[in-house]
Amino acid sequence: MPTEIENLNPNVYSKSKERIVTKEETDESIVDPFDKREIFDLIRNINDPEHPLTLEELHVVQEDLIKVDDKGNNIFVNFTPTIPHCSMATLIGLSIRVKLLRSLPPRFKVTVEITPGTHASENAVNKQLADKERVAAALENKHLAEVINQCVAAKEAMGA
């Protein structure tokens, strides 16, 4: 990780509230489908590699940029780096992927991409994130795995 921080003073937005548990959710007989908010809840508390802030607070991930097709087993997540030349983009994308990989049933095909037009090397990053082999290889790298675990683990430390 570079010691120099690239975006020193990013904008910070407030967190959305915890999802309110509805009557339907406590009713045993009703099936709750996967929805945008559920996916958002999975990734919003991932920590930014540079700041002690979550991806949600930096508006890197937003609920509106998630598409869920529960029946078609498809999930699509767009994320927006805070600045167009952010070198952390791949790392953030990787963290999102890993978190979803661990938290979603295997039936889903998950796509993680940069919001179009928000990053200088958008295509290259998207290609890397889409390549299963490269994602797996990245996780084999001990140092990278450390950083990713730290980003993903932050939530557990706070008591989830």
């Binding site: 003073n9 990013p10 904008n11 910070v12 937005y13 407030s14 548990v21 959710e25 406590t26 045993e28 099936v31 709750d32 559920e38 809840d41 999975l42 700041h51 002690p52 802030l53 978190k99 661990r102 938290s103 979603l104 049933p105 295997p106 039936r107 001990k142 140092h143 795995a145 450390e146 950083v147 675990n149 730290q150 993903v152 683990a153 557990e156 989830a160």
Partner: protein, 962 residues
Amino acid sequence: MVPLSQACIEEAIQSEITLKQSAEQIAKDIENKTYDVVKLCESLQFCLTSSSVEKRVQGTLLYSRVLALLPNDHLNSDQVEVLSNFYAARLKDHHNVVPAVIEGIDALVHMKHCPGKCVVMLLQNFFLNTTCQSQLRSDRFRLFQLFKYISEKYVEELKAMSGDFIYGIINSLDGERDPRNLDFIFTFMPNFIQTYPLLHLSEEMFEVFACYFPIDFNPTKNDPDTITRENLASKLTQCLVASPEFVEWTVALALEKLESDLVVAKCDSLELLYQAALKFPCDLLESHFEQIWIALKNELFPGSENTDVVSYALRTLRCILEQATAASKTDISHNYQTIILGTILPHLSDVNHRLFNSASTIALVCVAGDPVFASEKILNTFLIKLNENPATLNDDQCIRIYNIIAQMFNIISLKGETIFKAVNTELCSQMHSHIIASLKKVDAETDSANLNQDLLKVSLVVLIECAPIISEANRVMVYRILMSLLTNESIDLEQTQPLLERLGALYPIELQSNCIDGCIKNFGLFSNFVKEKILSNLIPLVRQIAFTQRILDLLYQQIFGEGVPNDVRLLSLQALNCLLKTEDERFVQDLQNNSELIDKLVQLALNNKELNSEVLTQIARALSAIVQTLSIAEQYMIATSYLCSLNLQLESDLYVAEGLLGYLHKDISLDDHFERLLNDLTQLSLQSENEGMREVAHHLLCSLVNKIEYNDNNRGIIKRTIHKLAEAIKKENKKAVEALSWLGKGLVMRGSNEAGEIVETLSELLDHPSLSNAASLAFEIISSEYPQLHLPQVKFLFQQKFFHMILAKLGHKLEQYCENHLTAFVYVLKATPHAVLKMNIEKIGPILFKCLESGNVHTQGISLQICENFVKHQDDYFRSHLNHLIPASLKLTTCNHSMKLRISALKLLYDITKYPTFVLLPYKVDVVLDLATALDDPKRLVRNAAVQARNAWYMIGAPKTE
């Protein structure tokens, strides 16, 4: 007596023990005037002047010990002077003799008639001929004690020594390393520094202490002296701020160490700055403020990750600002504020900026420092932002700004009324107008789903905080808004109630005419939702005299009035109960005395046939709330006067009886009625089909047998009742089992002998073909806690005793894992304290694992909870049985019939991850794979728990940076 012959003295100085004994004896002899100190000196001459160092040491030691043992007024000043001269000369002797000399000097200066000039002379010779730091630890300690003593007793003489004395002390302290000595030095030196002028030596004195800062000290374990790092650090800090002359160096030192990466160093430095702000006059500190602010800014803006550092830094800043205001140095305070506000104000206008949070925290500290000046600047900034352009300002930003304003006014209100009133009224009025405009959206918006309730709430909070300074014009608007909030059909905000209370206390007449009158007059026209809301908002106002009567009139009208529908009566009674619960006893007694509430309530219940059980329950609750507050005599009078005429088979009478008797004091004798009550209640329980009434009857039964006086007569009645129920059970009556278990509950709690009999009967029933289910439920009844029941007789540790009793009774059956026995037992386990379960874990462990595999959802649920509790405490038994626990819980994560069970199982699996990594690693792969199924659970709540558990398992043994 010790004859002072050479032989005797030779013998005396041979060993430590003989020396001690002889010293004591010689001291006694001198005291008895057998001989005097001069004679002793002469007799000791042979060893004091001996050419052997060893002998001189022993001789001096003996002499010093004798002096120490003499009463401190035994020697006159001449004698002390002679001896001082003698000891001063001895200081020139061999290094080994010096400790004995120090002992002697110590004894001399403690003499009552010791002249100041001798002390000065001794000190001069000491500083000249030897050094403190070349002595042993214990001697140094003696010296420091000596310095402390003389510096407090001979102030004038030592002040006259001026530089020599200070220099000598500095030399003696410099380089001290022993924590025990340092602890002593740090304790007495602040006082010393304040007493003696440090002259040109103040920097040297400061440096003596500065070299220890920040303290780095790790006490060894099992250290008998309780010296801690914190203790040393706080004492050192006091030394560093002991003299105003230190200010320049103190600030420089603190700022230098603040740059360290160590959290401890940072915290110590901030503490030092805080103490400096407290101790040093603010005009001395002013010239350093800019440096201090720059350093503090580094910690606060955007803020370090360590919350301790941030809070220390905020405290320091607050103290500096407050001290300036407290000393009435307006120019200094304004200067400080201008510097700080100049940095933070630009960031306050952008809510989404990363620095907004830290800027607002600092802003609040500024307000605490100088409320009037800072609040004006900050309000101005916020107002510009708020009035800028409504389109760019969303609700979220508004909420965050309002939140800070509310906190700001809260801080100002704590500063007292005069300061509160001095805040710029024009700005406040503008601010209030903006808030009122936000609140007005209630009127404009018809669909409450579009309203941001958080915005409304926080707006109300601001109004609550600054209620005393809302202008009259704005107050009119506030009343209007309150009315529309109170009468709104879909919004109920809890903040309206404290605002009403606040305004009621400040402007009772205005509130009366603008809000309360309207609410009361039109009460009948409102919907039930609004009625309930109005009542809950008005109830807290009852304690304000201006409103008491009006609100009570309304309440009584709605409760006792004729033709009031049941639902309105119900919510009015609920409001009454809320009032009875929150007010103190005196108030409730007054209510009863002034309006005979009990009689009215009883008549209401007995004379109205159309009341439903919900209303009756509320009446009973109100009755028992009032009865509890009365004296024992009054309780007795009221209970017995109504009791005779009550027919418990009628619903209304039963509820009245519950209200009157449920919380009756245990010392009241009900012997005359006990048999009838018990018979009526058991009969009702056995025959009635109305479940609600049966429950009331059971509760009364339980409470009565628990608190009745246990004399032979009552005991006979209870025995007969048990017998009657046992007969009914023989006829396979399930209701009798239930009644018996309630009876048993009351008796088990008080630990009576009959309880054993009942438990015996119930445990036998567990094998019964048709009553076994009811019997296992009976164990739940007995062991569960019912906070609404009044059970005053509680035997000490009854839960433990009950647990052991059941364990003994069911033991052999439990070993065979009989389903009903397991179910019954697990209910008992649920109520047993954790510590008792832990003691018996070897016995109940296998039972718990078996319960996890049972088919009963309750049994599984309770045993999962118990397991979770153990796992949370990192229990060793479960750690060694993870090979059982993990597969059992994994199986439960996919059980179809209860989502609660699945969630608890997943939580348990999550808690298991807290065990050490090496224990868990063998299971990791299996658990992670198996948990994938739970990730696709139809219920979202289960999926959430699964995500949490699975991610935690992934982290086990994964590479992590700390």
